[in-house]
Amino acid sequence: MPTKPDAKNLLTYRFALRLVSTVLLCTLPIAATAQQQRSPLAESAPQGVQYSSDVVVSESFRFFAGGRDLPVRGDAGTLMSRLSVPATAARDLGLALTPGLEIGPGHTVQLFGTQPGARAGLAQPATAKLITLHPIAYRGVPLAPGSDIMSVATATGKLLVVRERNLPQTVDGSIPTVERDIARRVAYEAGRTHAMPADAAAKAARLEVFVDRSANGRLAWRVRVESESLVAPWARDIWVAAIGDPVVLASRELIYHGHNGHVAATAFPASPLGGTAALDLDAAFVNRTGSDGGQVTTGPDGRYAFPTGTGSATIAVGVSGPNSNVDNVAGNEISASATGSDTAPINLSLNASTAEELAQTSAFVFVNRAHAFAQDVLPAGALAPVPTRVNINDTCNAFWSTAAGSLNFFRAGDGCVNTAYADIVMHEYGHGIDDALGGILDHGYSEGFGDAMALIATRQSCVGRDFQGAGTCLRQATDVFLWPPNTSEPHAVGRRYNGFVWQLITNLQAVYTPDAAFELARQLVLGAAVANPASIPDAVRLSFIVDDDDGDLTTCSPRQQILAAAADSRHIPRPPDCTPRPTAGRSIAPVVYFLFGQEDMRPPIVPPIFVRSTVRTPR
């Protein structure tokens, strides 16, 4: 609502109205008047400025030489209130707004309220000042940020300066003709031109008036398009015209970061004989020299972003991160670096090509995936980071060292592939998980548990694909080995457990989608591991307990009969048969996704971790 000036200030009001109009129309510096001498500041005051991110600003200053008396004198508190209230502020500031524009409640702060300590005679006393900023609306629709009115007055009641910034001469309306959802779609498409990540989505949309370069107010939908990633944040506000064609009026970046980019690594997605692929390098430290320096960590999609810093900088990455620190026993560790600026992504790739290099990248990638796989059951800080030693001068094996807390992988040779690849990493990491969850109590279970981790994570039944040449399999989980074992060799004993787990997966897939089946298996097996089993039958029984939902194993829990069938397939002792509860409509495996507090059937928490990429080059 335009506000009328007091009669005694009519002359000033008329002059100011003419002056502001002139400035807005011509974007010229304000003219000096007899009442308002030109301020030296006016010479340098920006009159038409385009800031970054398409924020267009035209502004006018009115300086009141010597100060213009305000109605309240000598009472800073009352004056602050008066300046904040729209009606009185508009009158006191002598505003002449375009019809339909409304000044909003102001935010007033006081500066120099107390005198700074000064050496006698060396400093003039400071003048306490009140600075007020008012938002503006048009018929109830707020103007976009950057359109406002600011005033500076002395705390004693003299008005010194008024700034009117980015106020429209006209506004095309306050009722949208473009639907909100259409605007959201337009904004989403517009995000693509700003390197929008795949997981971004158009979120809230609200009406605002956006003032363009010509001081025309355009009713617009302000749409927030953003990714929720905390490690590679991306967000923009995009204004889409709400009247007429839904064109993009402006796009403003909301994440203020510096150098950023993506890191990939060539690695073995499956076995060393299965070809290489470019994989996103997750959880890798990215170091910056130059600019603000510092270190950040890549996210699950391999992206990184430094929150501050501009200009030229060199970015470097290697096979080190919060979950794994690769030690290439045979030589130096692979790394990559590039120099660039914050204005364009600085992408890096660990282009591993030799067997020794591929062992490093593969170990690093899959240790990180193993960590993500088990993260929700690991104690805080456990296995972070794990020393990951690769290319050890030995062959045909790999091992977990409890003493050193390290993963150890041998070079290729004697008919065996380099052992730093998905199946073996997951098996050895399984020992690490077992170690972290109360300590390894039973060799046979620990070996079987390591195999189970590989089975669930790789979603196939062979642990050690191509281990001793193309097509070989170190341990095939579909093979049937019955309990009790007729051997004391731990890996052989463990085959009873890996067989149980594979049968469990198979049985679950008869009832659930593959994603749900593997996720359920993960939770049932890791849930038992949390309880630190003392033997394979103990681990199996613990999975029943983990699945139980009423504290009574004699009644059938959601997957009790599936577990029983899997245990029976390897003759592993288990709780007695259960009795189905007479719940209406309940089948052999009710669709209740209960583990760890989830009561609904959801997509899997952990996606299939080893099926992300496409094999590029058969080797």
Binding site: T395, N397, W400, S401, T402, N408, D414, S446, H491
Partner: protein
């Protein structure tokens, strides 16, 4: 005490000897009766893997790659000189193998290192935590078996 002194004296004596004779193809050096066998194994994902060194009474020796008790490949072979054979016998006697326990050491929860010596129909084994070297095992007070193994492997160039 006497045993320790004798054991320590052996390496000093061996150092004065010539290195092993150039390796001959093993079929040119018939093994005959095996005098002693040393096996160093590392537990891991594939079970126990490592090397088995066998020394014949006549001085022929072989070094094989083994995996879960099975010979995977022949790594090398050769022949010890008569002096080296004599030195080996001296070291064996000094170690007094028959007096050692059949199994000793401190295994790790999983993936232990296993060192075994078979001599005159008896096998003596010491287990150690993952990744332990023979030298490290030999440096322990109770490491006479490991010290003997270290000497024999030194003779065969391992």
């Amino acid at each position: 005490m006497t045993k320790i002194i004798a054991t320590l004296a052996v390496p000093a004596f061996l150092l004065t000897l010539a290195p092993p004779a150039a390796a001959q193809p093993h079929d040119l050096c018939p093994m005959g009766n095996v005098l002693i066998t040393v096996e160093r194994l590392q537990g891991g994902v594939s079970g126990e893997t490592g090397e088995r060194t066998s020394i014949g009474e006549g001085g022929c020796f072989t070094v094989d790659r083994v995996m879960n008790g099975q010979t995977v490949s022949r790594l090398r072979s050769g022949q010890l000189s008569p002096d080296q054979v004599a030195s080996a016998r001296t070291a064996i006697e000094a170690a007094d193998i028959t007096s050692l326990p059949d199994r000793s050491g401190t295994p790790s929860p999983v993936n232990p290192v296993t060192l075994s010596i078979s001599y005159r129909g008896a096998t003596k084994t010491v287990v150690a935590p993952t990744g332990t070297s023979i030298d490290s095992m030999a440096s322990r007070e109770s490491g006479s078996l490991a010290r003997l193994a270290a000497r024999l492997l030194e003779l065969t160039g391992s």
